[in-house]
């Protein structure tokens, strides 16, 4: 981008990002369809003006935000505290990137960090390319009951973790920090079955999940990757089980348990106290 184009793009994008920041802060107190429409429109406009100005890094990040906001708007993804927080960080990150672009600096590292934070929530702009001009499109159709999950393996069994509760997944670390603070780590197997679950090894993949008031890292045997999962409700005959949010039927006819992030975090507190 030359300096003139960058300046015009930045003049257009900065007030919209400021409006998005205010809107996301309001989102923390409840979902409002008009507010969602505004947020989607602003992110779509930033995607468009960035793409038109040749700012591919910004366009890609803004498009990623737009997809996540559409998913919140059409009810396919809850506006969890972790997601809203990440979107607020992304808005701040985009403002920093734009300020650096005005100065003619390199933004690739900053952009990479922003993309990585959004990718933890699964939606990828690669699957739906940005539209540089025109009005914000209708929310993309998604299979009913489908949510984006991170699949993990523990004790040779796969489990799905809804991505809205996942802060990050780290490979082969002894410890994990989130926002500069070390999180406690427990074994997912031990949490699911305190009597029989094997004690987790001290090194291996860790998935950090957020609950109502804190986060925990859960050590797993393997991270199998993100996937859309069509979640079915649990049979009505079952009593409430806090660690389980639903189940899905796999192509081979087996049943996949979809775990609850907040439920696991609550259980982890008890496991740590033992």
């Amino acid at each position: 981008m030359n300096a003139d184009v960058t300046g015009r793009f930045a003049d257009e994008a900065e007030p919209r990002l400021a409006a998005m920041r205010a809107g996301l802060q309001r989102l923390e107190s409840g979902l409002d369809p008009d507010l969602m429409a505004e947020l989607i429109r602003d992110s779509h406009t930033i995607t468009g003006v960035a793409a038109a100005a040749g700012g591919d890094e910004v366009a890609s990040i803004a498009r990623h935000m737009e997809i996540l906001l559409q998913e919140i708007g059409n009810g396919h993804r809850p506006a969890s505290a972790a997601l809203v927080d990440t979107l607020l960080h992304t808005v701040s990150g985009l403002l920093t990137i734009i300020a650096r672009l005005r100065e003619g600096g390199d933004v690739s590292e900053l952009a990479q960090a922003q993309r990585a934070a959004l990718e933890a929530f699964g939606a990828s702009p690669a699957a739906s390319p940005p539209t540089p001009t025109g009005p914000a499109p209708d929310p993309a159709p998604a299979p009913a009951g489908s949510i984006r999950c991170l699949l993990v393996e523990v004790g040779q069994r796969a489990y799905a973790l809804p991505l809205d509760a996942v802060i990050t997944a780290a490979e082969g670390r002894r410890g994990v920090c989130v926002d500069g603070v070390a999180v406690d780590i427990v074994g997912l197997g031990e949490t699911l079955d305190p009597e029989g679950g094997a004690t987790a090894p001290s090194v291996g993949p860790v998935v950090v999940l957020t609950g109502a008031d804190r986060s925990y890292g859960f050590r797993v045997d393997a991270v199998l990757g993100p996937r859309n999962v069509v979640v079915k409700g649990l049979p009505a005959v079952l009593p409430k089980m806090s660690m389980l949010s639903g189940a899905a039927i796999e192509v081979d006819g087996s049943v996949l348990c979809v775990l609850s992030g907040p439920g696991l975090v609550e259980r982890a507190k008890a496991v740590v106290q033992r």
């Binding site: 069994r157 079915k232 005959v237 079952l238 039927i249 049943v255 996949l256 348990c257």
Partner: protein, 143 residues
């Protein structure tokens, strides 16, 4: 009254035919983390998820035996809310139940009936009311 006779090891129960939906071969069960002991797991039934239960455990007769865990058949029955699969260790028999020979021990087992069986000799079975027996509260009881 026509009823299916359900066997779990040496124990027998009868379920009215109009409270049963089908008999299935047990496919792979997915255990549920944190589930009460009476819930053996989940399986797939025609695009839906079915809870599979150990009937003796629901009725407070102890934790599921290894035999119950390895049960080869499921009887899908009406439950208080929806349906549930009961793991059984033999193919259920369809029998005509005569007049009761005794009363049951509560809302779950309504009455006791005699089964005249040439091979095994006379036996008695408790007639189960699956709607009353299979409720989330009963299923959630710790053993």
């Amino acid at each position: 009254m026509r009823a299916l006779i359900l066997s779990v090891g040496a124990r027998l129960w009868a379920v009215r035919l109009d409270q049963t939906r089908e008999v299935m071969v047990t496919t792979s069960l997915t255990p549920i983390p944190g589930a009460p002991p009476s819930v053996l797991g989940l399986c797939h039934r025609r695009g839906d998820v079915l809870a599979v239960l150990s009937l003796p455990t629901v009725l407070g007769l102890g934790p599921p035996s290894a035999e119950a865990r390895a049960a080869a058949w499921l009887v899908v029955v009406d439950a208080g809310q929806g349906v549930a699969g009961l793991a059984v260790t033999r193919i259920p028999e369809l029998r005509e139940l005569g007049e009761p020979v005794g009363s049951g021990d509560g809302p779950a087992v309504l009455s006791v009936h005699r089964l005249d069986d040439e091979a095994a000799g006379p036996r008695t079975v408790g007639l189960l009311d699956t709607d009353a027996a299979l409720t989330p509260v009963r299923i959630g009881q710790p053993q």
